[in-house]
């Protein structure tokens, strides 16, 4: 995040210049500070213990994932040899054990949070096993519906972004499967309407994103867990995908596009504009803007190729050559636009820094301790 060149405005006073790794390196390379000063400053800015914390968190997360998938594979492999009581009893035991671990560790610690997430996963495992033992039918949406309902309480209680991600995934799968298995399969709606689920899911996740933006801007410390930026991207990128697909379907085969695709494309276009305006004008976030730009690039690219393909149907070689050239042109154009956006946002942020020192993307290294470590 801090790798972009920073040419600081000489008029600003010292306390308004955000301390970043790039700045220290710049000072060192210009000979303003010596090696010890650079090391000391870096040690202060990025303590070496941070590495260990990062690694141990990564390992803890990986370990939980591996143990949970191990449990799932154990059940899958030994399915026929286990009695129903063993299967269901074992999973309930795992749920109780996870909850006890969460109680012991406390919900304010990462280990306690992960224990609670494990409990939520085990509820899903229980439902899958239950459905299999009692042959409740292949309408898998019921499983995901009950799962999302049962773990909603824990999720709200957890105040933990990863738990919400799990819940959102489960709930989105439920909505998608429900759409396919109830209104579509029971012919309440025609098959033409089945792509309508994409804009519907985009709207639902859009609401979630709005809630996230509203809550994370509150100064109350109870929503600190939402301020990490990855919680924005992890919702925004699926939304963009959902908005993008109907438009691509419309471009690729307009003859096969019916009501669902038309409505989806309309919502998609409006949605792209809304998120663009929001992240350009209200919350200035270059990473979100980059994602939106890439989504727009894909649409423009596919549209151009489609048009070229229609015009040059007979001249394959010329068509391919032109497609290559046009693709280079489009990608260059969008890259230049992104560079321009980055510069403009940096400028705007500098202006806002002079009035509101804490609100700058450049300070994110120092202010966002809970921020993403995977930049």
């Amino acid at each position: 995040m801090s790798t972009t060149d920073q040419i600081e405005d000489p008029q600003r006073s010292l306390d308004q210049i955000p301390a970043t790794r790039a700045l220290i390196d710049q000072l060192y390379s210009c000979g303003k500070i010596n090696r010890q000063a650079r090391n000391a400053a870096l040690q202060h800015l990025i303590p070496h213990t941070q590495w260990g914390i990062w690694a141990s968190r990564l390992l803890l997360g990986l370990g939980v994932c591996l143990v949970l998938s191990g449990v799932i594979y154990f059940f899958a492999f030994n399915w026929a040899k286990l009695l129903p009581a063993h299967k269901l009893g074992g999973i309930q035991f795992a749920i109780i054990a996870s909850i006890i671990a969460a109680c012991v560790c406390g919900l304010n610690r990462l280990s306690g949070q992960l224990a609670l997430i494990s409990a939520s996963v085990f509820v899903g495992v229980f439902l899958a096993v239950f459905g299999q033992i009692y042959q409740t039918g292949a309408d898998a949406y019921q499983l995901f519906m009950v799962w999302s309902l049962l773990i909603l309480g824990w999720t709200i209680l957890s105040r933990f972004a990863a738990h919400w991600v799990l819940w959102l995934v489960v709930f989105n799968v439920f909505l998608g499967l429900w759409w396919e298995q109830v209104p579509t399969a029971r012919s309440w709606i025609g098959p033409d309407w089945s792509p309508l689920i994409l804009p519907l899911l985009a709207c639902f996740n859009g609401l979630v994103l709005c809630t996230r933006e509203l809550l994370s801007q509150r100064s109350a410390s109870s929503y600190d867990w939402l301020s990490a930026k990855w919680t924005r991207w992890i919702i925004l990128i699926p939304i963009l995908t959902l908005l993008n697909i109907p438009i691509l379907l419309l471009i690729v085969s307009p003859d096969l596009a019916y009501e669902g695709v038309f409505i989806g494309s309309f919502v998609g276009a409006i949605g792209h504009i809304c998120v663009y305006v929001y992240y350009r004008k209200i919350v200035k976030d270059i990473w979100s803007l980059a994602a939106i730009t890439i989504s727009a690039l894909i649409i423009v690219e596919i549209l151009t190729i489609r048009v070229l393909f229609e015009i040059l149907m007979d001249e394959e070689e010329l068509g391919l050559l032109l497609m290559g050239i046009v693709t280079i042109g489009i990608i260059t154009g969008f890259t230049m636009y992104l560079r321009y956006l980055t510069r403009t946002l940096q400028h705007e942020n500098k202006v806002s820094v002079t009035t509101l020192p804490a609100k700058s993307t450049a300070t994110s290294v120092t202010t966002e301790d809970t921020g993403p470590s995977n930049d």
């Binding site: 899958a76 909850i99 109680c103 409990a119 039918g137 292949a138 049962l150 209680l157 399969a185 029971r186």
Partner: protein, 157 residues
């Protein structure tokens, strides 16, 4: 406080889960055995391993019956013979059930009338045990709830 709510929620969740087990076990314990003739096909489930997709003979019989009411879902009446094999009698018209008759829930989809469960789960790789199955083994309770417990080749109880 959060821990107390969490423990409370856990108790509620465990109660819900165990009550659903109890309900199903009651039907298996006390229910009456009924065989439904099959016409199987076979894709896979999302997270539950392998399964056999099922079509029941009775679905097509009921579909062809003239008196099929124009509703999305409802009950049909089946009669069970001495070998416990079920056959279609009529769509439910609120008339009382005769000896050996049962209510069976169905719903309509674009490829005709359907009875749930329309699938049978088994461990991955065990498909050969079930590929020749001719009957679905059901347990019925008095109010028409039923559970598919097995697939068999012959209706021997």
């Amino acid at each position: 406080m959060r821990l107390k709510i969490m423990i409370g929620l856990t108790v509620v969740i465990l109660l819900v889960l165990n009550y659903s087990i109890y309900q199903k076990e009651e039907i298996i314990d006390k229910g009456e055995i009924v065989f439904l003739e099959l016409a199987p096909v076979d894709p896979r489930s999302l997270i539950q391993g392998d399964y056999m997709r099922l079509r029941y003979e009775i679905e097509s019989v009921a579909d062809e019956a003239n008196a099929s009411p124009d509703v999305e879902s409802g009950y049909m009446i089946v009669s069970v013979n001495e070998q416990h094999i079920a056959s279609f009698v009529r769509f439910d018209d609120d008339s009382p059930l005769a000896e050996g008759e049962k209510r069976l829930y169905y719903h309509r989809s674009y490829n005709g009338l359907k009875i749930v469960p329309d699938s049978f789960f088994f461990q991955e790789g065990h498909a050969d045990r079930y590929q020749n199955a001719k009957y679905g083994v059901f347990k019925f309770d008095d109010s028409g709830n039923h559970i598919l417990t097995d697939l068999v080749d012959e209706p021997a109880s």
